[in-house]
Amino acid sequence: MIRQYWWKILGVLILVYVIIVGMLVPLKSGILSSFPLKTEAGQQLILEVEGYNTHFSTAKHITAFLKNGKQEVVGSSKVDVGSETTALLTFDMPAKSYQPRESLTLIMNNEIDGSSILPAAVVFQESSKPITNDSVWQTFEIAKLYPSTGFKFPFRNILHETVRNTFFHVAIWFAMLVMFIVGLIYSIKYLRNSSLHNDAVAVSFTRVGILFGVVGLATGSVWAKYTWGAFWTSDVKLNMSAIAILIYLAYLILRNSIGDVDTRARVASSYNIFAFCMLIPLIMIVPRMTDSLHPGNGGNPALGDEDMDNTLRAVFYPAIIGLTLLGVWMSTLTYRIYILKERWIEE
């Protein structure tokens, strides 16, 4: 099967699909920001809202709600639309507050965009001022939310458009793991039967794995710049993955510094197994045990329903398969070059 070429075409087609769909499908509408940040019980609140990909002017039925921790809502009394993406919402805040200070979630709803949510939009405080209205908290059922239609990626606060990086950053780490696992298997095979062919396969796959790892770090770094504000932070996940890649780079140095073919293969195979066994705790276990900003670690979710939805999965899973196929293709090429070079040296 590895000599046939249909899977190479398949891999390229999948990647083309991933790039086109992953880059062109629009995001769902969302709320970027709202102002002011505070409001008091029993007072009127005029909230200035900035939306993203929204259709405020075009939509006919715009409603807005503020939701408290007890799943109760207060609806807006007036909606003034400025443009497609800006609106002024007027709320009569109820006099009753359950806590001295509470964060309220803003929900906006119209028939074109469906509903969008901004968590912790305003802080609701107790007040000593005279009460200006008779509004009360109502059950959440009164908010009749329109469903969102069409094939769109979810809008996530902070992430915004960078949610598309899931298809590249996350998928390439998966593909890297596949490459390293194949490398590991062939290293074990080499130690069992000392066939240089196995060592050549192991080094080819490991090299491509390292390349994927470096690209994974780079894409992650760009993502971090947009979401955390810096290319590199001293986060445990980042440190550990950098160390893991360094361990594998050391594997390449080790190979280059040994002249004898058999010694090189044996020593490098042992080190490769060792490197893989260090990789798993470093990037999978350690970051999960301590605090980390990175999703999937330190109590942060990743790939769960909060982060992924079926539209993202429709591109994310193919991306993993496509990148893995591409990696296998690259590895077979590397393998052939390696074999040719070795033959050259021996002659």
Partner: protein
């Protein structure tokens, strides 16, 4: 097996006692560099103390471990192969190394206390951190130096190979010692210690699995 391990241990000690140059040079390095630091800094506190401790400790451990597997000639290696079981030999050497390194840590602590004073609040925690880090560092460095023993210019190579693997232990070790100095407070330091123990045991396990295949060569 146990007697064999102890036998290897005792033999290692005898070899080192007969030829004191290895231990002597590392001790000289420790005391010398602490003295130089004292002359330069006059006094250091807190983070500087921790940094100096770990730098000196790391370098002496690296020196020790690299000597351990490279002292013998190839003919004597063959002799050892015929005498000992690979795993027992490795465990014996490792145990001796571990003991030696812990002694070095004590000496270093003593020397630094003399020159700079002792800022440690929680000596137990500090000791535990050093102990766990030593298990990990010792295993990794022994493994790497064993791996590269047959290669030319192996000192360089072992250092390059060992550096990234030792980093997690160093990071955790530094964190634990900073906490033990009372510079930062961390309620979850227990989980860091468990983590360190886990990685250390893990690396011990891997080394034990891989050593026999290398030993045959």
């Amino acid at each position: 097996m146990l007697t064999e391990i102890l036998c290897v241990c005792a033999k290692e000690m005898k070899v080192d006692m007969r030829n004191l140059s290895t231990v002597g040079s590392v001790l000289l390095f420790l005391i010398g560099s602490t003295l130089i630091s004292q002359k330069c800094f006059v006094t250091i506190h807190g983070v500087g103390w921790v940094a100096l401790f770990w730098i000196l400790y790391l370098f002496s451990i690296i020196n020790m471990a690299l000597q351990a597997f490279q002292s013998g000639r190839s003919s004597s290696r063959l002799a050892q192969y015929t005498y000992h079981d690979g795993v027992a030999y490795a465990i014996g050497k490792w145990l001796y190394q571990f003991g030696l390194n812990m002694c070095l840590a004590l000496v270093l602590l003593g020397v630094m206390t003399v020159f700079f004073g002792n800022p440690i609040d929680d000596l137990g925690l500090f000791g535990l951190g050093v102990l766990l880090a030593t298990i990990g560092l010792c295993t990794i460095l022994s493994f790497v130096s064993f791996l590269t023993a047959s290669v030319e210019n192996s000192h360089m190579l072992s250092t390059v190979l060992a550096m990234p693997i030792t980093l997690p232990f160093l990071l955790l070790g530094v964190k634990v010692s900073v906490v033990s100095l009372g510079l930062i407070s961390d309620t979850s330091i227990g989980s860091d210690l468990v983590l360190m123990l886990a990685i250390a045991l893990f690396s011990v396990g891997i080394s034990l699995v891989l050593l026999p295949t290398l030993w045959k060569a």
